[in-house]
């Protein structure tokens, strides 16, 4: 098809021509910047795009030599833009014709308690007891079972961890590592970053009391989960928390 066309002389862009295109482009760059100094509201976008398109044409026709090129190549390049607009058009048709997703900011943080522990990585009676509370409230039992045997209703299918055995803890089983698992999640287990850090520590300590004695937390472990023990108020809730009120209770009744 285009074979015979190939035989024509290659077009050589004259210096004068390229110079004119060059100047043309500079001029329009100045124009678009100048116009942008005034605010036309919704019109800014179409105006700027119009100018950009004009510049684009200059580049494509002369610098890229489309003006002197074969029809195949014209069609090829044109096609890409046609489909770009199809893509934009149909996507916009949906996105602009519906109520948008507007929610921004820190993810929801359901407060289970206001309790904040100083140095929460130390397994005190108090924090363990608190952890047991959270364990119940957050329905950990759904998977891990009431006694933490990993035999909760959903646990059977998901192969939930049995806290009573020592072997096979993927992330290791000192409080910091368990805290990490709670924060990041593991396979089937969702991340519990929605509950406060103190609460996470508490749950970690509680589940560890179920099994054989857990190893001590070292500085290194803490560093791994981004806690600096020397820093003032370490382990307190960094995220904004919700004020407790009755709606919370209604919410938590269900969990």
């Amino acid at each position: 098809m285009s074979d015979d066309k190939n035989k024509h002389q290659h077009h050589i862009l004259s210096n004068a021509a390229s110079m004119w295109v060059f100047i043309f482009l500079l001029v329009f760059t100045v124009i678009t910047v100048a116009i942008a100094q005034f605010d036309f509201g919704q019109l800014n976008f179409p105006i700027a795009m119009l100018i950009a398109t004009v510049k684009a044409f200059a580049v494509v026709l002369f610098f890229m030599g489309m003006k002197y090129d074969s029809n195949d190549n014209r069609v090829i390049f044109a096609t890409s833009f046609i489909f770009l607009f199809i893509f934009l058009g149909f996507t916009a048709m949906d996105l602009f014709s519906r109520g948008q997703i507007r929610v921004v900011g820190s993810p929801l943080m359901a407060v289970v308690s206001d309790k904040v522990f100083d140095k929460p990585w130390l397994p005190t009676e108090e924090i363990v007891a608190h952890g047991k509370e959270i364990y119940v409230k957050q329905a950990c039992a759904t998977c891990h079972g009431d006694e933490g045997l990993g035999n909760g209703p959903a646990g059977i299918a998901l192969g939930a961890r049995n806290f009573h055995e020592e072997a096979g803890w993927k992330n290791g089983r000192n409080p910091a590592q368990v805290f990490g698992t709670l924060s990041k999640g593991l396979n089937a287990m969702p991340a519990y970053s929605t509950i406060s850090e103190s609460d996470r520590w508490a749950v970690a300590h509680y589940v560890l009391t179920l099994g054989p004695r857990a190893p001590e937390v070292t500085e290194a472990d803490l560093a791994k989960v981004g806690v600096d023990p020397n820093q003032q108020g370490a382990g307190e809730n960094k995220q904004r928390t919700l004020p407790v009120n009755f709606a919370e209770k209604i919410y938590l009744k269900e969990i």
């Binding site: 109520g99 948008q100 929801l108 959903a154 998901l158 089937a188 009755f246 709606a247 269900e254």
Partner: protein
């Protein structure tokens, strides 16, 4: 006629019209299948290889080609239109006097929040012959889920941060299967629930917190499941074992306030009322009265309908759309300061103030 040998039992008018559509589609499919495969088999036998058979060299036939282009096109348009009609019914035909239930999904359970303020998990209680509208969303930091009741032929995704709607009007008392049909992880196939359609009397009792016997399971999921396979939700798990099935309230005692009252109290406790009055007078911020569902004019001249998505945005990110006349008072944003259920309560409250 009864198609339950192939379609699940149709429990609503929409489901029935869906059945009619699909019977039509089935017929079309079978017909065209025969139209193609029949001749294929016939030709294969009739024109099987013979050493010196005279073959036709006809390379095209315009009329024929037009026919098998035009006829399918027409039929396709009919199919499309019929499909659209059924879909429109599913989407728009919601009667004015309907119950509203707000649904919040999280991996992997359903929470249903009723107008009277109670909430249940994985069990949706509705009265028979009453249109119910579900306003659904998924926990903001959770994943996509999808609400599907085969016997009602309805399905809709629950998208974090977006409110989707669906409605139905069950006509048969019974328990129906609720599936999650948008892949949501390891618990996906365990994320089941029951739509419990009660007789009007039983529903009345249930709303008063009386224990009532649950109706039998109908349609999909009616076959009793061997133990160990029963999909359990945190709160429903205990009672499943006890012999006689009794309805669960969210948590045996009745909620102190209706959803609207909760919203009102919430508005007070969060100091919303300081700026937004519940009487029809502008405060520091726009009044709540008659706000919901109204067309609001914004500072930049555009207008929006004040629906769930708008209200939510105005709470989470007040500066995105500033109401005309309030350009210079900036409300503090409340992103993540309210749970999905609280937001629902507030919206119910605002909705109650629409005039």
């Amino acid at each position: 006629m009864d198609w339950s040998f192939i379609f699940p039992i149709a429990a609503s008018e929409i489901a029935r019209s869906w059945d009619t559509l699909n019977v039509f589609l089935l017929v079309i499919c079978v017909f065209f299948f025969l139209v193609v495969i029949g001749p294929m088999v016939f030709f294969a036998i009739r024109y099987r290889f013979k050493p010196n058979r005279k073959v036709s060299t006809v390379s095209h036939n315009f009329t024929l080609e037009v026919i098998w282009t035009a006829i399918p096109t027409i039929i396709l348009m009919v199919i499309f239109w019929w499909g659209w009609v059924v879909y429109r019914q599913m989407t728009f035909d919601l009667p004015q006097n309907h119950k509203q239930v707000r649904v919040v999904a999280k991996s992997w359970s359903w929470t249903f929040q009723y107008e009277d303020g109670r909430t249940t998990t994985n069990q949706l209680f509705v009265p028979v012959d009453t249109p119910v509208r579900l306003i659904m969303t998924s926990e903001i930091n959770d994943v996509l889920h999808s609400f599907f009741v085969p016997n009602l032929r309805i399905k809709k995704d629950l998208v974090p941060g977006l409110y989707t709607n669906i409605w139905f009007k069950p006509e048969i008392v019974g328990q129906y299967q609720i599936f999650c049909t948008e892949y949501c992880g390891a618990g996906h196939s365990e994320m089941l629930g029951k739509l419990i359609v009660l007789s009007k009397e039983d529903y009345e009792l249930w709303t008063w917190g009386k224990e009532i016997e649950l109706p039998p399971a109908v349609g999909v999921g009616a076959i009793p499941q061997p133990p160990g396979l029963v999909a359990k939700a945190p709160s429903s798990s205990k009672k499943e074992e006890t012999g006689i099935q009794v309805a669960m309230l969210g948590d045996a005692e009745l909620p102190s306030m209706s959803l609207v009252e909760q919203g009102e109290a919430l508005a007070a406790s969060r100091g919303c009322v300081a700026c937004h009055s519940s009487e029809d007078r502008p405060g520091i911020g726009p009044s709540y009265v008659g706000l919901f569902g109204r067309e609001v004019e914004l500072a930049d001249g555009t207008t929006v309908i004040a629906d769930e998505n708008y209200i939510r945005e105005s709470i989470e990110n007040p500066h995105a759309k500033i109401v005309k006349g309030y350009e210079n008072v900036l409300m503090p944003p409340y992103p993540g300061l309210l749970t999905e259920l609280e937001l629902n309560a507030l919206m119910a409250y605002l909705k109650s103030l629409e005039n």
